[in-house]
Amino acid sequence: MADDALVSPDPANSEAPAGPVLEVRGLCVDYGLGAEAVRAVTDADLVLRRGEVLGIAGESGSGKSTLAYALTRLLRAPGVITGGDVVFHSRSAETGQVTEVDLLAADAHQLRRYRWSEIAVVFQSAMHALNPVARVENQLTDVLRVHRPEMSAEQRRARAVEMLRMVGINADRLRSYPHELSGGMRQRVMIAMALILQPQIVIMDEPTTALDVVTQREILEELMALRDKLGFAVIFITHDLSLLIELADSIAIMYAGRIVERARAAELFHAPRHPYSLGLLSSFPSLHGERVRMEGIPGSPPSLAAMPDGCKFHPRCPYAMDRCRTQEPPLTRPADEGGDRVTACWLQDGRQDPPEPLARVFPLLATPAAPRPGDLSRSTS
C-alpha cells in the first residue's frame, strides 16, 4: 500500500473488457441440511472475464473460501449448494468456439473432464496440499496421464520439466519428495502443477499466506508474469486487501457471506462505496507520510447462526440509518453512476447524499493526483 506509483490506474484497464469466462448468479451455499442448516454464502453474483484477475477479499468466516470451493463443487461435507447458477464459458483452444457449461448440473464424469484441464486450484498450504508419499514428478504428471492420454511417458516428463523451469525450479527436483523442498519451492511446485494443463481459470485460495513476506513477493510476481504469458483468468482469495489492490483487475469484498461491493481495483481503492470497504482500506498503515491514528472497524463479524436483521454490517457501521436495521440492501449499481461496479448499501440508493468518503469521484483518465492513504483516515474522523 505504500508505493503510490503502483496504484495509478492502468490505461489497459479502461479498454473494452473481455468476454466472461465464469459467471456466478445468485449462488447460495449452506452447511448442513434441513432446520439445522447454516447459510454460509447468500446470493453471490460474480463475473470473471477472460484473462482477468478477480480478487475476493474478506475477513475469516466471510465465506470467501466457501464460495471459491463451491464454484467447482469441491466444497467438503457438510457443504451443500442450495441455489444459483455457475456457468463456465469454455473456449476451445483450437477452434475458439465457446461452450457454456452449467457446473452445478454437471455429473461426476463431466466435472472430471473440466477439472484441472480448464479450471485449476492452488491451495493455501503447499505442505498439506502435496501428497507426502509421492514424488514431485508423479504429482505433476498424473494429470497428464488422465487428461492427455495421447502423451507418451517421455513427453509427460518433458512437460513436467518445462513447468518446473517455468517456475524456477531445477529439473533434478523431479525425484524429490515434498518434505525435501523448502516452503517457497513447494508453493512453486503447486503453481507448476496447477498450470501444467494450461487451464482457463486458476482459483487461488490464499496462496501465499503461509509464506514469509519476501518469498510472498517473489512468488506473486512470478505468478503474474506467468499470467501475462499464458493468459489465464485468476480468482484470488485473500484476507489481505493490500495485495489485491496491486494484483487484481476487479475486486469483490465479502462480508457475512454476501458480496457487499464489487468494482475495478483502482476504483475501489480511490473511491469505495461501501462503509466496510472504506473501513478495510483505512486499516493499512502507510510506509510514508506522517503518523496518523489508525482506525479499525469496531466490533466483530456476526456468527453465521445469529445474523442481524437488515444489512448485516449495520451493527458496526458508522453511517447506519434506520432503514439499514430492518431492510437488507440489494447489490446494485450506486445511483447516478455508470460502469458496472456494484455495492450493497442504502447510502447509495440516491435518496440521500452519501457521506463524503463514500462519494469520491474516480477519474477515468490516467494519473490524477492520487490521494495519499493518510487522507482516508483523516477524513473519516
Binding site: G34, R73, V80, T82, G83
Partner: protein, 336 residues
C-alpha cells in the same frame, strides 16, 4: 485396539460438560456400562446370592452331569456341583485379577509413557527402549513359563497374578500415552504453565493428565479385556489352579471330562458365555469412548433426505423455501 488421532485438547474442564451429555446419549456406552455393572454386581454379590456353595456337591454317588432343571437352574457337572453357584462365584476372581492387572498396567504405563513423553531426551530413549522390548515379547508365553513353577498357594493371590499379567500388558498403553503427551507438551497452556514457573510434577498432574483421561480409560479397558482373556486361558491350560472355581477352571474341568463329546452343554456354555459377554460389554464401552474422544470417527448416516456427500462432488439441493422455514428434519449427526 484403535488408532487415536486426537492431537489437540482443551485445557482441562472446558469440554467436560459437553462430553458428559454425549456419554449418556451414546447407546454403546450405556449398554457396555450396563453389562459391566451387571458383572461387577455378580462379582461382589455372586457367592452370597448363589443357592449353594461352589464346592457343595448334591450327592457323591452319581457320576452323570444333570441337565438344567427346576432344582438346578443350570444343571450340575459330573461331580454334582451346582453350575449356577459356580458361575455366580466364579466371576469374582476373574474380575478382580483383570482389574488389578488393569490398574497396575495403567500405573506403569503412566509412569513410563508420560515421563518419557514429557521429559524427552535420554530419559525418553531409555524408557522407550524398555517399553518396546516388553511390547515385542509375547505375553502369554512368558506368563506360561513364569507361572508354571509357582507353588499353588501363590496362584490364589489375585494381586500377585494381576501384577504379573500387568507386566506383559503395560507397554502398549505406555506407547500411546507417550505419543499423546508429546503432542500435548507443546500446547500453549502447558507452555504458559511452564513459563509461570509451575513445577514439573504439578504441570503433569494438573494440565496433562486430565487430557489423557480418555486414552487412559480406553487402554485400561483394553488391558482388562486382555487380562480376562489371559487369565481364562491360563486357567484352562492348568497353569493357574486357584482353589475356588473360576470361569476358567470350570471350562478346564469341562474339557478334562470331555463334556463336549458327551454334549453336556450346560457345563461349559455358561462360563464361556459369561466371559464372552463381559468382553463384549467392555469392548462396547471402549468403542463408545473412542467415538466421543474422536468425534469425526462416529458412525454417521451417510445420506440424509437422499443427499449423499462425496468428496469432490458437492451436492446441489435447490430449496423451494428459505432455510429458516419450519421444515421438519431428521437429526443432524445421528449417534448410531
Amino acid at each position: 485396539m484403535s488408532v487415536v488421532g486426537v492431537a489437540t485438547a482443551e485445557p482441562a474442564g472446558t469440554g467436560a460438560r459437553r462430553r458428559k451429555s454425549r456419554i449418556t446419549k451414546s447407546p454403546k456406552i450405556v449398554v457396555g456400562a450396563a453389562i459391566l455393572a451387571f458383572f461387577v454386581f455378580i462379582a461382589i454379590f455372586g457367592p452370597t446370592l448363589a443357592p449353594h456353595s461352589a464346592s457343595w456337591q448334591a450327592s457323591n454317588s452319581s457320576a452323570f452331569a444333570q441337565p438344567p432343571s427346576a432344582k438346578f437352574w443350570l444343571g450340575t457337572d459330573r461331580q454334582q456341583h451346582d453350575i449356577l453357584s459356580q458361575v455366580l462365584a466364579g466371576g469374582r476372581s476373574t474380575m478382580v485379577i483383570a482389574f488389578v492387572a488393569g490398574i497396575v498396567a495403567s500405573v506403569l504405563s503412566i509412569l513410563f509413557g508420560v515421563t518419557a513423553g514429557y521429559i524427552g531426551g535420554l530419559v525418553d530413549d531409555v524408557l522407550s527402549i524398555i517399553a518396546n522390548i516388553f511390547l515385542a515379547l509375547p505375553g502369554l508365553l512368558i506368563l506360561m513359563v513364569v507361572m508354571k513353577p509357582l507353588p499353588a498357594g501363590d496362584t490364589d493371590n489375585p494381586i500377585l497374578i494381576g501384577s504379573v499379567i500387568a507386566l506383559t500388558a503395560w507397554a502398549y498403553g505406555a506407547r500411546v500415552l507417550r505419543a499423546q503427551t508429546l503432542a500435548l507438551r507443546d500446547q500453549d497452556y502447558v507452555e504458559s504453565a511452564r513459563i509461570i514457573g509451575e513445577r514439573r510434577p504439578r504441570i503433569i498432574v494438573s494440565e496433562i493428565l486430565p487430557n489423557l483421561l480418555p486414552i487412559l480409560a480406553s487402554s485400561f479397558i483394553f488391558t482388562v479385556i486382555y487380562g480376562i482373556g489371559i487369565y481364562v486361558v491360563l486357567s484352562i491350560l492348568g497353569i493357574i489352579n486357584p482353589a475356588q472355581a473360576s470361569w476358567g477352571t470350570m471350562i478346564q474341568n469341562a474339557q478334562g471330562a470331555s463334556a463336549m463329546i458327551s454334549n453336556d452343554w450346560w457345563w461349559y456354555a455358561p462360563p464361556a458365555l459369561c466371559v464372552a459377554l463381559l468382553g463384549i460389554g467392555l469392548a462396547l464401552l471402549n468403542f463408545g469412548i473412542d467415538e466421543i474422544v474422536n468425534p469425526r470417527v462416529r458412525s454417521r448416516k451417510g445420506s440424509r433426505r437422499g443427499v449423499r456427500f462425496q468428496l469432490g462432488l458437492t451436492p446441489v439441493v435447490r430449496a423451494d423455501r428459505s432455510p429458516n422455514s419450519d421444515v421438519p428434519a431428521p437429526v443432524m449427526e445421528g449417534e448410531s
